[in-house]
């Protein structure tokens, strides 16, 4: 049977560790979870206190009597019932939700939107490198640290834009075959070394990743045809990040959020996706338990979806949406939003949630306070031309 999976996951990571910038021995971990396809922020964090919410969302207005259960946040905002893990961490003070947030991109192409989200550039189609890669180049390197040695991993066979660039990156996929014999591997390494440096580099990296993840130690199921689930990708990431000598920054890409039709409320397409995402967050949290106090997971998407339901019980491409921060290092238990309202005149172009927070402000605050990247570097190189976008204070701690 063909796979019926709804997504693919991918993740990439580096081993470079900025631990020396801190007086206290800190060893921060960061996981960026990218939701491709445009997450409906109004469905996952419904503003049930907004007087226009029920009207705009019609049959999908969860939290309205008779439509579906919600998890309570601060009274004004609530959380979709599928996000149990995220909610438990909210209650524990480890989840921070940002609402009405958007990248600087204002059109509605997925691919251009993903370019901006991942490149960190002010506009689309500037795709030479990604902001996470450039941030790695700016990490404070102390003398205790070994020279940067990539120990990367990705669960897709390709490098997502967010990681492309000068800093060495690696990707990893969960094993699907029995490992080839060490002798054949070393012969191939020799051959590549003689005539193909690019293949040599790719192969050496792949071997390091395989050995870090324990490939070769465990028998591989022979019948698997579907891609990795969200949770498998997350558990792989967590295992590597938690390791003493493993990578410290990773990203996972989850596809499938483009809910143009039959999006569903408490149950349905979006609810299933959210449950899978929440399960992945649980996989991350479990795997990172030992280093939880040093961990931040940030969940972002290219843009939001229309405030109104379209003619097909779904939503079309929109603008502002939500972002999540979860982890022991997060100053959570709150929703950060400069709420624009959902009245007709308050909507962006009369159709989308108006963006009031620049996603770059969130990411800059995170990179500065969690990883120690300087504000100057953030405004000049990590997010070029963003000097007017001030980092959000107080996300970490």
């Amino acid at each position: 049977m063909p796979p019926t999976c709804i997504s693919s996951g991918s993740f990439v990571a580096w081993s470079r560790t900025p631990r020396t910038v801190y007086a206290a021995p800190r060893d921060p971990r960061m996981v960026v979870v990218i939701l491709r396809g445009a997450l409906d922020g109004l469905a996952v964090v419904p503003p049930i206190g907004d007087p226009n919410y029920a009207r705009l969302r019609g049959e999908l207005a969860i939290g309205v009597a008779g439509i579906g259960r919600i998890l309570s946040l601060d009274g004004f905002f609530s959380l979709h019932d599928a996000m149990r893990t995220l909610h438990a961490h909210y209650v524990a003070g480890d989840t921070l939700i940002v609402h009405a947030v958007a990248t600087p991109y204002r059109d509605r192409s997925h691919f251009d939107g993903q370019d901006v989200l991942e490149s960190g550039m002010p506009g689309p189609r500037d795709t030479v490198s990604g902001w996470l890669n450039r941030a790695v180049l700016e990490l404070p390197v102390g003398d205790q640290i070994e020279v940067a040695r990539p120990v990367g991993l990705a669960i897709s066979p390709t490098v997502p834009l967010i990681f492309r660039g000068a800093a060495p990156t690696l990707t990893w996929t969960p094993p699907n075959f029995q490992s080839a014999s060490p002798d054949t591997q070393s012969r191939l390494l020799e051959l590549y070394g003689e005539i193909d440096p690019a293949l040599l580099r790719a192969f050496v990296e792949g071997r390091e990743i395989d050995s870090l993840s324990g490939h070769g130690d465990v028998p591989v199921p022979r019948t698997k045809t579907a891609g990795p689930s969200f949770r498998e990708a997350a558990e792989g990431a967590a295992k590597l990040l938690a390791a003493e000598s493993g990578p410290r920054i990773a990203a996972l890409v989850f596809d499938g959020w483009d809910t143009h039709a039959n999006e569903g409320a408490e149950h349905g397409k979006l609810a299933r996706l959210l449950a899978a995402l929440d399960d992945a967050l649980d996989g991350l949290a479990s795997g990172l338990k030992s280093v939880w106090h040093d961990t931040v997971i940030v969940v972002i998407t290219e843009f939001g979806r229309t405030a109104r339901i379209n003619g097909n019980e779904g939503t079309d491409h929109g603008t502002a949406t939500t972002a999540f921060l979860m982890g022991g290092a997060v100053k959570g238990g709150r929703v950060v939003a400069d709420w624009p309202g959902l009245g007709n005149s308050q909507l962006h172009q009369g159709r989308d949630l108006m963006p009031t927070t620049d996603l770059r402000a969130v990411l800059k605050g995170l990179l500065r306070d969690h990883l120690g990247v300087s504000e100057f570097a953030l405004s000049q190189r990590v997010f070029p031309s963003s000097i007017a976008v001030r980092p959000l204070n107080g996300l970490i701690g």
């Binding site: 049977m1 063909p2 796979p3 019926t4 709804i6 997504s7 396809g37 509605r108 192409s109 997925h110 691919f111 189609r125 991993l153 990705a154 897709s156 066979p157 390709t158 490098v159 990707t171 990893w172 996929t173 094993p175 699907n176 075959f177 029995q178 490992s179 080839a180 014999s181 002798d183 054949t184 591997q185 012969r187 191939l188 051959l191 005539i195 193909d196 690019a198 293949l199 790719a202 990296e205 792949g206 071997r207 990743i209 395989d210 490939h215 022979r222 019948t223 698997k224 045809t225 579907a226 891609g227 143009h260 039709a261 039959n262 379209n310 003619g311 097909n312 779904g314 079309d316 172009q349």
Partner: protein, 453 residues
Amino acid sequence: MVFASASIGFHRFGLGPRSGDLSLLGDDPRGVLLDELDEPGIALLRGGDLLSAAEIITERHRQDRLPRGYLAAAIRRLSFFVPIDRRVFEAEVQARIDRALIVRTGLVERLVTFWMNHFVVETGANGTVRRTAAAFEREAIRPFVLGRFEDMLVAASRHPAMLSYFNSAISVGPNSVIGRQSGRGCNENHARELLELHTVGVEAGYSQADVTALSKVLTGWSYRGASGDDELADDYGCFWFVADAHEPGGQRVMDVDYPQTGLDQGEAVLSTLAAHEATARRIAWKLVRHFVSDHPAPDIAEEVTAVFLESGGDLKACVRTLLLHDKAWGPVVKIKSPGEFLWSALRALGLGIDVAQVARVLSALGQPLWNPHAPNGFPDHADSWLAGNAMTDRLDFAEELAARVRIDLDPLALTDAVLGKRCSASTREHIARAQTRSQALALLLMSPEFQRR
């Protein structure tokens, strides 16, 4: 004339040579590639066990209506009862295996893959797409890969797999008869990707208003059975223009007025978009990038663009132009995709493969069958397939495959037969020194000359 090596021809433009192919063809493979384009019916795939999308949708409808409970369980246990989804998948993949292993060069199969990655549907999207994606390839792509682009665009845009993938079948004009009765409306999914991915591309500079207008143009484009509760009829599962769901009145898309008020409105828009210069440029550039390199000499794409425009989108003429261009035979840079690697490895070793294995291997190597996880398809950059442990995965699979080869195969002779004059001294040396036959074959499959095309 640049020296066009037979080995480059087979690996870059085809599915790789089988043992004996290179020596039979001499040094210039252009002739055999061009001949394959002229072979009647070469792109089509037919067979008694291959059902049309309409038949699949109908059969699924019937099976869904089987009585529930004890009786249903009894029927499902009968040995001749095969659920339609499994029957379809097995027949479709088997047909691709048979085709890939038997074709002379595989150029046309490569074109089919290219166009399936242009008019993307994802089997992961929903059950209807899962069941009909392969039929979509046979019905909307294959008949036109050597025909006119506009015909492919129209066939793809009308196909139930595409209509279901983009939720078009339920998109209703808000002021149409059905829209006013039901309060339903339209969604922009198909319209936006039709502009951005299928035709002019985002750089052509259309606006939100154009997307909105096109989404209205496409209202009413549906198929019988889209709602699932329609009664069975002869045309069940076929394209169906629902006039009562079509938004009344003219529309304006990319500075052109479309005063038509029915199906002909959408057909007129598709016709204009298919002939648009931006479409020609995009298609030409994508073709050149796919077959030659990520940074090809600009004059190849310019020539292909000109031929596209002059010939009214004749895709065979475009491919001929590409093949005959000297610069299309430049240095080998691109890494084979997982599919290209799988088929060329099987062809080189003379091995068969079963349906389950194909599905497993392609998923594991990152290119699951008909399921690229995004409407813009699988990546097509030279280094897209090089990341992370992709190469160690390929070696693991190559070793698995090499272990299955019959015992009398001479690895060095096969190396010459598969790589021809492109084989480096280093590669030949390492294959010669291998300690077992299967290790030698795994090294051949993993050699830079075999991995790159």
